[in-house]
């Protein structure tokens, strides 16, 4: 049974959710069925084949038996943990975050305040326009809703962890995070996906809506198991003078596809997108970002760095759209890529669509191998060739890693980057980060 039918099967199960919500889910499934799963004949899916979603026999993940080790431990942070799509209360602690801020699981909100939940779902555009988010809605997985009141500044970061530990073949889950940030509120959200060695599939959806002046820092870490399929959709809506910075780190999974869609809907809004992806042996990692400048005086900055090794394949597609009628748009976009083996592949497409003239948009893409001069410099100082290569490779992404202000996240990023290319291990382990 392919993924779509597996979701349909779950949808058919009796629930105690209100009829309007069931109708919403059924509509979403109908839409997903009408359009079908994306194929490589579609421009946005040219480089990524989802055939696996049709060939695997999917079953919903069972409730966890035990709690595995968490990939990211931040003693100072609030945390919410889901295992196999099920909320784990004893690994969750939101404590003082509840002051001025409502943090609830989606299951709880569906039960207590279905109208609130439905309103949030209806705001998200990608649920209407894209098939995978629609499937996420139809599947009605658990997750978390964070509603920040105006002027609420979360004092510590919130770590939301999704772990797949089903230990069965081809389980699937549909986790989601919804953040509604009131005017001038602030939050740091660390979303992390991890799992075991099974061929599971995660179809995640994250929606960040910001009111005037709100600020969200969003770290999204894909550290899935080696056989996993990770499909992620992030939708970001920015209000007046709001700022969201998104950091996407992809250091796991067999097939990873992450879509990040940003709507700069009001003047003064700005977004920063940063990303590191490691496409190692056997991996296919695809990031698609889209920034819609729909209002004047909006700014976007984007930088993605990718390393492909073994027979890995990395894909980056960044699109910036400056809509008609807007003025004073500033957008930059950079895609830097490194190919470490002769069997690896990188496909990059930095796109600009501009329908107005008062803009300053630039994009650049580079693709190459390690700089021989840099290697020579290191070798001349007695560093063996292999170590020199590892150092320069790590240096390629380090600038972005070093910008992460949280030591635990930084260490995790560095460690996972180092582990994902065999050449990097060893040397980097000795580095202090």
């Amino acid at each position: 049974m392919g993924l779509v039918e597996a979701v349909a099967l779950k949808l058919a199960l009796p629930t105690n959710e209100p009829a309007t919500l069931s109708a919403l889910r059924r509509d979403a499934l109908t839409r997903a069925r009408q359009h079908g799963l994306p194929t490589t004949h579609q421009e946005d899916w040219k480089y990524t084949d989802l055939a696996v979603l049709q060939t695997l026999d999917f079953t919903p993940a069972a409730a966890p038996r035990a709690v595995p080790a968490l990939p990211l431990v931040m003693p100072d942070a609030y945390r919410i943990t889901f295992i196999n799509g099920h909320f784990v209360a004893r690994e969750s602690n939101v404590g003082d975050l509840q002051i001025g801020c409502k943090v609830r699981t989606i299951n709880a909100v569906t039960r207590d305040e279905p109208a609130t939940f439905e309103a949030s779902l209806r705001r998200a555009k990608t649920l209407e326009t894209k098939v995978l988010p629609a499937l996420n809605v139809a599947a009605a997985g658990d997750g978390v809703i964070i509603q920040l009141a105006a002027n609420c500044v979360a004092d510590r970061p919130l770590v939301v962890t999704f772990i797949n530990d089903a230990r069965e073949q081809a389980t699937w889950s549909a986790p989601r995070i919804i953040v509604e940030a009131g005017a001038h509120s602030q939050l740091t959200l660390i979303e992390i996906h991890a799992g075991g060695d099974d061929a599971y599939c995660t179809n995640a959806f994250t929606y960040l809506a910001t009111s005037a002046g709100a600020q969200i820092q969003h770290y999204r870490i894909t550290a899935d198991g080696p056989a996993a399929t990770h499909l992620g959709q992030v939708e970001i809506e920015l209000g007046r003078d709001a700022h969201v910075s998104n950091f996407a780190l992809a250091v796991g999974g067999r097939l990873v596809r992450v879509d990040i869609d940003c709507e700069l809907a009001a003047p003064g809004a700005s977004v920063t997108l940063k990303g590191i992806f490691m496409a190692s042996d056997g991996q296919h990692v695809d990031h698609h970002t889209r920034v819609d400048h729909r209002a004047s005086d909006t700014t976007s900055d984007e930088i993605y760095k990718g390393i492909a090794s073994g027979d890995g394949r990395g894909v980056f597609n960044g699109k910036v759209v400056a809509h008609a009628g807007t003025q004073r748009i500033a957008a930059t976009q950079t895609s830097n890529n490194l190919l470490l083996s002769s069997t690896a592949e990188i496909d990059t497409k930095p796109e600009l669509e501009i329908y107005t003239n008062d803009i300053r948009c630039t994009h650049g893409a580079t693709l190459g191998q390690l700089d021989e001069d840099a290697l020579f410099y290191l070798q001349a100082r007695g560093i063996p060739r292999a170590d020199a290569e590892a150092l320069t490779t790590f240096g390629f992404v380090h600038a972005l890693v070093a910008e992460i202000p949280y030591p635990e996240v930084r260490a995790l990023a560095a460690k996972r980057v180092a582990l994902s290319a065999p050449a990097l291990a060893g040397v980097v382990a000795g580095l202090t980060l």
């Binding site: 009628g325 190919l339 930095p350 600009l352 501009i354 329908y355 107005t356 003239n357 190459g368």
Partner: protein
């Protein structure tokens, strides 16, 4: 110079308004496309059986192909059964009898544009002695070319006179079923030109489509095949210097270039088909497939294009870099004004070792024009040490126009070095102010800046084309900055 180019533009704009469409009696096939029409075209051209079969195979493939929709352009659906696929001027009775009858101001414009006399007659719709034009002028150069061993003739003639060469190379770069419009062209192509440069020969002159223009009047599906044999060099100019009189016409040409070992082909185009009026009525749909094959070692193919005309331009002059050390170049200026749309760029397919390619694309959008650069750089696994540099810049001159960039970069070899840079901006206020403060009028200052923006491409054009291109540019952008 700037002031005089403003005059030119005023004249040329007037020309469009007045419209000098001349009703010519045509020997025309009934509208519609079927096997009989393909047979008719082939029969009219007195083609051998193999050519007809080739056309029919293409037609059959075309029938089964879906019409592509992916380009960033919008146009009402084309009714392929409403078009006429064969049309030739039958009589010259309705034409003006000599250049004396043409509006002298028009002639002045042509002179300023530097269009040769024979071409002026063509443009103005003057009845020129067909024999004079297509045969004697032709033969003058033909002798000189023949002395060098160069074959340069119409495609129909090549099919008759040089069938071996045509059969060997036709469709070897752009196969019949390469794409929808290439298949259509393969089935119904009317004429075109054929060039063969023998081994170790430097073509003694620049070959130009000037010869071809007459034949081109017969249809909108021409086909060009240029073969540069080992060690040869040719520079080929394709000038669509004239506003075509037809409206909303489909122009689906195919150009195939083949460069063998150590050969070089330089292909320059100045395209100024009728772009339609300010409201976007009429104009040519320019859906062209152009591809060069660097088949031999150390071969080089260089495309230079200045696209100022056509309602819709949809083409990607490409290079397949098969031979070791082969080089591909693409220099382009594409201008869209009023309601013009362009989706143009290039493809550089690196297959051989040490292959290099350079892409310089300058897009200028004004009025409601939509200008897209779409390019592909593919480094195959076999392409060791391949190198690509791409730069595409867009200049936006109004707040209703659009500039888009869709660069595809696919790399499968770790030794590759690929760089891509793109910018989009309007004319800098500071630059304008600087020029104005030195007493240069706004319009002239804009011309100066725009010409500077395009300089990297213009310098690749042969001298006379470069002058023409600069003038065309200022004409096209007349009144674009308010």
């Amino acid at each position: 110079m700037a002031a005089s180019s403003s005059e030119v533009s005023a004249l040329l704009n007037r020309k469009y308004d007045a419209g000098f469409y001349t009703d010519i009696e045509q020997d025309q096939a009934p509208p519609g496309l079927n096997e009989d029409i393909v047979r008719l075209i082939s029969a009219k051209k007195q083609e051998p059986e193999w050519m007809l079969e080739w056309r029919l195979r293409a037609y059959e493939r075309w029938l089964r192909m879906p019409e592509p929709k992916w380009a960033h352009v919008h146009y009402p659906p084309i009714d392929y059964q409403a078009l006429s696929y064969y049309s030739a001027p039958k009589t010259t009775a309705n034409l003006l009898q000599s250049l004396d009858e043409v509006d002298p101001k028009l002639l002045e414009t042509y002179k300023k544009l530097g269009i040769p006399l024979q071409e002026q007659k063509m443009l103005a719709g003057v009845a020129v002695d067909a024999v004079f034009d297509s045969v004697s002028v032709h033969t003058t150069f033909k002798d000189k070319l023949a002395a060098a061993g160069v074959i340069f003739c119409s495609f129909s003639e090549a099919v008759r006179e040089h069938p071996d060469l045509v059969r060997k190379y036709l469709g070897s770069v752009v196969p019949q079923a390469d794409n929808y419009y290439a298949a259509l062209n393969s089935a119904v192509f009317s004429d075109g030109s054929f060039v063969y440069i023998p081994k170790h020969t430097r073509c003694p002159m620049e070959l130009s489509t000037y010869f071809r223009i007459n034949a081109m009047n017969t249809g909108q599906f021409e086909r060009t095949l240029v073969i540069a044999d080992t060690g040869s060099y040719v520079s080929y100019l394709e000038g669509c210097t004239a506003p075509q009189r037809d409206e909303n016409q489909l122009h689906a040409a195919v150009v195939e270039l083949i460069a063998l070992d150590d050969a070089q082909i330089k292909y320059s185009t100045v395209q100024n088909w009728y772009p339609g009026d300010e409201q976007g009525r009429g104009g040519i749909y320019n859906f062209v497939t152009k591809r060069g094959d660097c088949r031999g070692r150390n071969s080089k193919i260089s495309w230079t294009q200045v696209e100022t005309g056509s309602a819709i331009t949809w083409k990607y002059p490409s290079c397949i870099l098969k031979g070791e050390n082969s080089v591909g170049e693409f220099y382009s200026v594409a201008v869209t004004h009023h309601r013009q749309q362009a989706d143009t760029g290039t493809k550089m397919i690196h297959l051989g070792r040490n292959t290099r390619s350079t892409i310089i694309s300058k897009g200028i959008s004004a009025g409601y024009g939509q200008n897209a650069y779409r390019g592909l750089v593919r480094i195959a696994k076999s392409a060791e040490n391949a190198r690509n540099y791409t730069q595409c810049d867009s200049l936006l001159m109004s707040d209703h126009c659009g500039a888009h960039t869709f660069p595809y970069i696919e790399v499968r070899n770790r030794t590759a070095k690929v760089e891509h840079e793109a910018t989009a901006s309007k004319i800098s206020e500071d630059q304008l102010f600087y020029l104005q403060s030195r007493g240069i009028a706004t319009e002239d200052a804009v011309n100066l800046i725009v010409n500077g923006f395009c300089k990297e491409v213009f310098k690749e054009l042969p001298m006379e084309f470069a002058v023409e291109a600069q003038k065309l540019l200022s004409i096209t952008l007349e009144g674009a900055v308010g």
